[in-house]
Symmetry: C2
């Protein structure tokens, strides 16, 4: 049997054994995969009905062999192998941090997260889940925040499709026995997202609970993290989000436990999927500089601080809750579409990445942000348009103009080599000059209407010639203009200017 | 001669003497005004042509007597008096800090600054100045920022109407000889503003200079401050703004000199008009907690920080440059009218005060912000509407809801006793509950459209009943609603909610 697995695809091996006692607790299993002298150790897991599995995502082509190790004779020393072949078209591998503040797929293709949020979509009725996937297939989001556990919260009072642990004879959840049906379903939806090119930003813990998932002991928490890693790490589109609003759980899970979750993932995820932790009230209260944090996932509406956050942590900043488009009574969920699009543009042109969410009141409480379904708002199309703009030209990642430099505390600009993206937002100049090239050249310069989603060639005009004047430190401003040319604008807000080399266009 | 001067009006006495040498330098003059056993010392000044003057603004009714003191016999020991009578209608006296973060006139009438900016209006051709006053008579601004010195800056390249010092035979400015014609004109315009109920926020220094006003020695600077105080402190509508963007002058005027300017004003202004200093780049770099700073005058676009600034300095915060409505190429001068109105509302509903400015490109460089003339924008009417809203109900001053409390980092609310003003800005809930009264009562509740300038009675609805949920610190949210009722809203941005007692309406 020479099975062929594409590079970054998933190899799975199953092993039968006696399912006595509680195999989730009693049995340890892993497998060592080898390609030549290189080995990778992969955890296995119990999948119910006397079946154990090992999943492996190979990252190099060639003939891989494995050998299992277990404390149960039936599972120990099992061997096998497969041939890893070239990836299929569209398979770029898992996403990793790249160029310090950015991301790329394993094959080097840049990845710019434009995410959305459906926290509890896998817990809704199957038809609603199909609708969510159909919607995602039409939208342009490439990351989805989604929880393992079901959600108890305003507008989220229904029971989940599956419990995450099985219920005992007393009807109570047995936190020592994962419900493999729930996990299989969750995995199926991770795979469905993967088929759409969407990264699954898997939220492992959250405080929105009435079933007891919040209050598991440290030992059970750790076991759950290991189990989850063993089951889903081999899906190439997995990201690890330790929590949503972890700080609302500090009474039951102190900081040391969150650190340990990170460590457990480093121990059990050989692929090193991106790992982050998401705050509730205080953006700064987990030290995102800790080496096991790959990127900074935050909620913060104050998006002009994006460049400062990048400097503070030295990692990619993904602002997954800059408040949501919607009209509910909760202030994090009722900004206008225009405001959310504005915040996305500010975030991206200050070197960060954003997350979308939608919270419109619905008679049956079907809010996209929690349950998926259909998108009702106006921001998602414009966010997709921004993604197209970024993907068309950016290669390394957009790095912000220094906000210490005039006028980049007020307006926003980011650069990637010769590519410049200037976002003017609430500003409506008739002439703009800052951030444009110092030397004239063969540039294509366009004006982008971020709301109307239009791109129009810009009219270049001479830069304004202002009198010399005193500035910070008593220096006189340069008599010569700050750029080789200026751009004429129509004098309305929410415009951007794009500059890129004309060569090759 | 029993002259009658109204309370907070201006008494002036003139004295002739020999105008030998340079009387500006050689002669010292003051007058001690007495009402019973109380005395007030008032500086005098030379007004050219052998005439010295003393001006005094009495703050108490009764028979005042004065006696001059001078180092010139002709001016020394002159006596006289007047009777101070009740103020005329509309004369509320000078403005002072009141209730820590607010202002009131001397008679206790609350004063809520809604200012605008015409830095160099008194240096424009007379017809343009008449036009400025006519415009101000129609608008609802009650404070005007204006410089003593002329302005050299983009869009400000014309020569001033009057030099501030006289020119010598060599054609150069003689910084030892004030041009009394210029000062008389400046005073006339202060009085004209006073007749319109507008406070003159007099900017004493600024860096926009090609004539040498910036570069006077410390001795000349101090002499100028004393001279200005002696001339204009008796105008009841004067405020002292030490500078516009003082930090761009630190190379020639170190911090100690700015401190000394404050001290000189304390020495020479017996009325203690409000004193402040205005930053360029860094809001925090003058320590506004110094006791001689009466209120904090800043420029900062980041208006959601207003409540934090109040806490930081413990004084009224007047944000006189939250960026201007306009379309010029400079980012501080090209925000949309909607954005400026939005920032005003945020500022006021976080316990601060704002300043307006308008910078629309004009073929003859007639920009309101510098030269006055006519208003071309759309924000000024809406700012006047906000002033009407505030003046209708606020008595003590609006103090912000604590931004540490949900949701007041995101939305804005301020209270004055039973009066509540909640501004939702970019938020567009269909139902709003936060900040509404905890006990139901006989309130008048209105929805205000801040752009359309409409006030509509609100429809009260039951507050949302949400499931208990875990929050910060692990506490469960209250099962009972946060307010006695909620308000139904049309689901669009830029709305405010006003709550006030129905009694007496």
């Amino acid at each position: 049997m020479d099975r062929q697995i594409e590079r970054w695809g998933m190899f799975e091996a199953a092993f039968a054994g006696p399912a006595e006692g509680n195999p989730f607790l009693a049995v340890t299993l892993d497998a060592v995969f080898a390609l030549g002298n290189r080995t990778v150790t992969v955890p296995g897991f119990y999948d119910g009905d006397g079946i154990w599995r090992v999943r492996f995502m190979p990252d190099a082509e060639g003939a891989w062999q494995y050998r299992t190790r277990a404390n149960l004779a039936a599972l120990d020393g099992c061997t096998g192998g497969f041939t890893c072949v070239a990836p299929a078209p569209g398979n770029h591998g898992p996403v990793q941090v790249s160029n310090r503040h950015h991301f790329a797929y394993a094959d080097g293709t840049p990845y710019f997260p434009f995410g959305t949020t459906c926290y509890a979509w896998t817990h809704q009725p199957p038809e609603q889940q199909r609708q969510t996937l159909a919607t995602l297939a039409q939208a342009r989001f490439n990351k989805l925040r989604m929880g393992v556990f079901p959600k108890h919260y305003p507008f989220n009072e229904n029971e989940p499709l599956h419990d995450i642990f099985v219920r005992g004879a007393d009807g109570k959840l047995d936190f020592d026995r994962p419900n493999v049906v729930a996990f299989r379903h969750f995995e199926q939806q991770i795979a469905a997202l993967g088929a759409l090119g969407i990264e699954a930003d898997v939220i492992m813990f959250h405080p929105y609970d009435r079933w007891g998932y919040c209050d598991m002991s440290a030992e059970r928490d750790f076991r759950y993290v290991r189990y989850l890693a063993a089951r889903i790490a081999a899906f190439r589109n997995v990201w690890w989000s330790l929590a949503n609003e972890y700080d609302f759980l500090l009474d039951v899970k102190p900081i040391e436990r969150w650190d340990r979750f990170f460590h457990l993932l480093e121990e059990h995820d050989p692929y090193r999927h991106p790992k982050s932790i998401h705050n509730g009230e205080e953006t700064m209260n987990y030290d995102h500089r800790k080496p096991w944090v790959d990127h900074v996932c935050i909620q913060n509406w104050d998006v002009k601080r994006t460049a400062a956050w990048r400097r503070e942590w030295g990692k990619p900043v993904v602002n997954d809750e800059m408040e949501y488009e919607g009209d509910i009574s909760l202030a994090w969920g009722n900004i206008s579409a225009r405001e959310l699009v504005h915040r996305f543009w500010i975030t991206v042109t200050r070197g960060g990445y954003g997350g979308h969410g939608e919270t419109f009141l619905h008679p049956e409480d079907l809010l996209w942000w929690a349950k998926g379904g259909v998108l009702r708002g106006e921001s998602w199309r414009r966010i997709g348009f921004l993604r197209d703009i970024v993907e068309a030209d950016v290669r390394r990642g957009l790095d912000p103009a220094p906000t210490a430099d005039w006028p980049w505390t007020r307006a926003s600009a980011a650069f990637d080599g010769d590519v410049r993206l200037i976002y003017l937002g609430e500003h409506q100049p008739r002439i703009w000059v800052h951030g444009l090239p110092a030397e004239d050249g063969d540039y294509q310069v366009d004006v982008i209407d971020t709301w109307e989603m239009t791109v129009t060639p810009a009219r270049r005009v001479p830069p304004p010639a202002f009198p010399r004047q005193r500035q910070r430190g008593g220096a006189l401003s340069a008599a010569k203009p700050v750029a080789a040319f200026a751009v004429e604008l129509p004098g309305r807000p929410y415009l951007a200017i794009r500059v890129r080399p004309a060569r090759g266009l």
